[in-house]
Symmetry: C2
Subunit: 226 residues, 2 copies
């Protein structure tokens, strides 16, 4: 089957670095889904405003297709234990499809068609979207589901030290989302070097930080390098 | 992006008629997912047994691709009200992908590789599977999600009158699932003719029934026509 992008999503993340590990980790994150013609016509969204959550099926577009492995090392296990690819959400899968639930925050009618505003997306800017479905709690919600290894290891949140003069450089509407992204620890799991300065692209800015003993300290907020 | 089937699912339904409208409606339904080489190798499933639920991303293989419409008439609205395709789970979508959560009931190691036994699937026999992911309740479960039109109209369950001599023709292990499928009303929503005799293929049998005033009466259980 050949899939065609129906839309692209616009998120604050120019690169994979910093993108939350799962949807919903930073609910204040806003993203816009812009449709390709003819998929953006208003009637294709009739009734969608009654749903609070949507499914996105999307492509891990930065992963070369065919580059999959039967086992992967999930970040949640510290990056040094292997599990089967079908027991993981790893992007290195036979068909590199991603699945994310997001909140529906609004619809905008533009000259290019409908734009969906969504919350909590864990996608890189520009990711192609192949399908959008309404979330049906009676079929999709299983709060008691057993989550295997992912349920056994709590994710270690970081304390965020974001000096006020630096935070002032971040547009106010983006602060809550940025703080949540940083608290979720954007570092790859095998990077635990406290001297290292990381740079994370976020909404046209470059956020520079170090992590020492569970505290993420922001060192600089710069205009993003092109 | 081109998708390749990684597996096919084997379910009791040779045709779309009778397939539950959503996953989980008949939890006793069992299906087997048989993988194509090389995807069935045991290590690709390492750790999967710790998850109680899985996602299947699959293809509406009976729907010609490209046959989509901006609006659709969902069965839940009686088949006579239109909503946008992105506000529905209709198969007539730009990329005809299906999404279903199923329960993981077991793994079998066979000479052809791993076979997954799953419960509650709403798929036609032979449907191609493109991806299998673990269900992560912390990211995927939203019990309070608003379900739009799908939350406003309760589905009308049927009372099932399955005479004992006919039920005796159904293998015991399949009875619970079959009764649940019939109670969920397998008829298309625009068929409300009480004189009509329907025939539903189920696990090599043909189940014949009528529906009058909320009661589904089984008339015959026959060997399936080839």
């Amino acid at each position: 089957m050949e899939l065609f992008p129906i839309a692209h999503i616009h998120t604050p993340f120019p690169e994979k670095f910093g993108v939350p590990r799962q949807s919903g980790i930073a609910p204040a994150l806003r993203a816009k889904i812009v449709f390709l013609p003819p998929y953006g016509e208003a009637q294709a969204f009739r009734g969608i405003e009654g749903f609070s959550h949507l499914w996105l099926i999307w492509g891990f577009s930065k992963i070369p297709q065919g580059k999959w492995s039967p086992t992967v090392r999930p970040p949640r296990l510290g990056g040094n234990q292997r599990v089967g690819v079908f027991a993981s959400r790893s992007p290195f899968r036979p068909n590199p499809l991603g699945l994310s639930s997001v909140t529906l925050e609004g619809l905008e009618e533009t000259s290019q068609g409908t734009v969906l505003v969504v919350g909590g997306a864990d996608l890189v800017d520009g990711t192609p979207i192949y399908d959008i479905k309404p979330y049906l709690p009676q079929a999709d919600s299983h709060p008691q589901a057993a989550a295997g290894f992912a349920g056994q290891v709590p994710w270690q949140e970081l304390e965020v030290d974001f000096p006020a003069p630096l935070l002032a450089k971040v547009p106010e509407a983006a602060r809550e989302a940025l703080l949540a992204v940083l608290a979720a620890d954007p570092r790859p799991p095998y990077h635990k070097d406290s001297r290292r300065v990381y740079g994370m692209g976020f909404q046209g800015m470059e956020i520079k930080f170090c992590v020492t003993a569970g505290v993420l300290q922001v060192r600089a907020v710069e205009g993003q390098e092109e």
